[in-house]
């Protein structure tokens, strides 16, 4: 089984780091992973996305995929293209308030004020990490403990001071979700 997750937003929201964290955590839990991010020439403000593919065996999937199982939409900037990729039974997590587009996704959906939660905790750039914590809580695609474990190693050495804040952000996101909404691996498949 392969699960494709597309994280989409604008530069500066931490989308690439959240994707990297998801990939690292999945690998830590013994799965095969592939991640591919795109971002424009600008470091801040342009549209950015990252695709993470998580599976059991050797992945033949190319870095670009047509259909994804899950989406974390941090901003509406490239929503039309993103929504086209999301499978109708896939799981969608929206960044409430910041995300302003019309959403007609028929499958399971969770709207959470990730940026708002991060801003309240005085970490406005950690919105994607809040969203990732929430996504993990809603899908069990990876465990929160694994995400907290890898928070430091995914950062370049010159940014390691942000590890603690990112842990807090993921925890806040996780706590904001009451329970599983759409199981990524099914109960039996969950890696213990």
């Amino acid at each position: 089984m392969e699960r494709e997750i597309l994280l989409s937003g604008i530069g500066g929201q931490g989308v690439q780091l959240a994707a990297r964290s998801l990939a690292q955590a999945a690998m830590r839990e013994g799965r095969r992973v592939l991640m591919f991010g795109t971002y424009g020439g600008m470091m801040r403000g342009g549209d950015t996305d990252a695709t993470v593919v998580i599976g059991e065996d050797s992945l033949m999937t190319p870095p670009v995929v047509d259909r994804v199982w899950g989406v974390i939409a941090m901003h509406h900037l490239s929503w039309p293209a993103v929504s086209e990729k999301l499978r109708s039974d896939g799981f969608l997590l929206l960044n409430d308030k910041v995300f302003q587009a019309e959403n007609s996704h028929p499958g399971p959906c969770l709207s959470i004020g990730a940026t708002a939660i991060a801003t309240e905790a005085e970490m406005p750039q950690a919105g994607s990490m809040v969203a990732l914590g929430a996504f993990a809580a809603a899908t069990n695609i990876v465990r929160l403990e694994t995400l907290l474990d890898i928070a430091e190693e995914v950062l370049p050495s010159y940014r390691s001071q942000f590890a603690e804040g990112n842990r807090k952000a993921m925890q806040l996101g996780h706590d904001a979700v009451s329970g599983s909404i759409c199981e990524a691996w099914g109960v039996a498949e969950a890696v213990s």
Partner: protein, 363 residues
């Protein structure tokens, strides 16, 4: 060594170091920049040197000097930067020096540059093009081996996808057959002995050598050297589903990974299509391609350019219908992200070509 989750560019850097590369020079240009960052971070850890060169001209010059000093050396850029390096790459072929040059290309417009080159004179460079990161880290080690074995620059063809894909890869050293000592390297030790060494694109020996070689005679050995590489190395390729294929798609690099995926999908639906992927662009795997397309009624070449490799495919298959089915595809980033390069669109393109094929056959 076990697998590590690495971004492509960092994996390439670590694979180079694992291959014994101890000198690297480069000038930033995305997506080559990320490889340079990796070398700047990791090369000093093993006592190597990474120089932030002031231009591509200087980067390749520094790597040339380091190679002459006997170090495994590499440089690289993007196609545009490689344009600046052409002069030195050609001359290093004549000077019989090993070098690995990475082209972290934007799109696939550099096929001619890689396989024909823009330098002067009769020279050729081996060009290796991986389709995914696992293959890339092993090919990059092979590149250093070939460079040393043939004392010739080797081009490694990557792209934005390869630089930025993140996968778990094993970058442990790969074993190759032992190579002879570099008894030609310059360290100053033979100066003043009457038998001082020279490394030059113009002449291989000093005037007082037992057999002095004139410039013209040396120049004439260039053809022998090209033949020696062609005879000394089996062209590399991958093929699949070709045994009974009506149609074979030829592609290299990252697009080939998507072609492979699309062909797998089509085969699972019973469509008689195969794929062929040259891994060494020079020497080009012509014989293997001929064999792989034996049953094919037509051959499509998918590349992200206006049609470059298609020339080599046509030269290999002179009695087959060979068509270019790719094209230039670029998004606004300018980094070579190809909007047309998705499994669904590629699959649709192959179906379209195969429909034409059966129409032609019916008619």
């Amino acid at each position: 060594m076990s697998a590590e989750l690495l971004e492509g560019s960092e994996a390439l850097a670590k694979a180079m170091i694992s291959a014994g590369c101890r000198f690297f020079a480069g000038y930033p240009m995305t997506p080559f920049t990320e490889v340079l960052e990796g070398m700047a971070e990791h090369l000093p850890e093993v006592g190597g040197t990474c120089v932030n060169a002031e231009s591509e001209l200087e980067a390749v010059g520094m790597a040339w000097g380091a190679a002459a000093g006997g170090a495994r050396a590499a440089t690289g850029s993007v196609g545009q930067g490689l344009s600046l390096m052409q002069e030195s790459i050609a001359e290093m072929c004549f000077a019989r020096l090993p070098l690995v040059v990475l082209n972290m290309a934007r799109g696939q417009g550099d096929y001619f540059q890689a396989t024909r080159g823009g330098g002067h004179g009769d020279y050729r460079t081996i060009a290796l093009a991986p389709a995914d990161l696992t293959e890339a880290v092993s090919l990059i080690q092979q590149a250093f081996y070939f460079a040393d074995k043939f004392r010739n620059p080797v081009l490694f063809m990557g792209d934005y996808y390869l630089a930025h894909v993140i996968e778990a890869v094993d970058i442990g050293p790969v074993d190759f057959e032992a190579l002879p000592d570099k008894d030609w390297l310059l360290d100053g030790s033979t100066s003043g002995s009457g038998t001082a060494r020279i490394i030059s694109p113009l002449m291989p020996v000093k005037r007082n050598a037992e057999v002095f070689v004139e410039y013209g005679d040396y120049l004439e050995t260039s053809g022998d050297k090209i033949a020696a590489i062609e005879n000394g190395m089996e062209p590399l390729f991958e093929s699949g589903h070709c045994e009974d294929a009506d149609y074979v798609v030829v592609s290299y690099g990252t697009p080939a990974r998507i072609i492979r995926y699309a062909v797998d999908q089509l085969r699972s639906e019973g469509v008689r299509v195969g794929f062929f992927r040259p891994i060494s662009l020079w020497p080009f795997p012509s014989a293997a391609l001929t064999e792989a397309t034996r049953t094919a009624k037509a051959v499509g070449v998918y590349e992200l350019n206006a049609g470059q490799m298609v020339d080599d495919v046509r030269l290999s298959l002179r009695d087959k219908v060979v068509e270019s089915i790719g094209g230039i595809s670029f998004d606004d980033s300018g980094f070579g992200i190809a909007p047309e390069l998705t499994p669904a669109r590629v699959e649709a393109r192959i179906r379209e070509e195969m429909a034409n094929l059966s129409n032609e056959v019916d008619a």
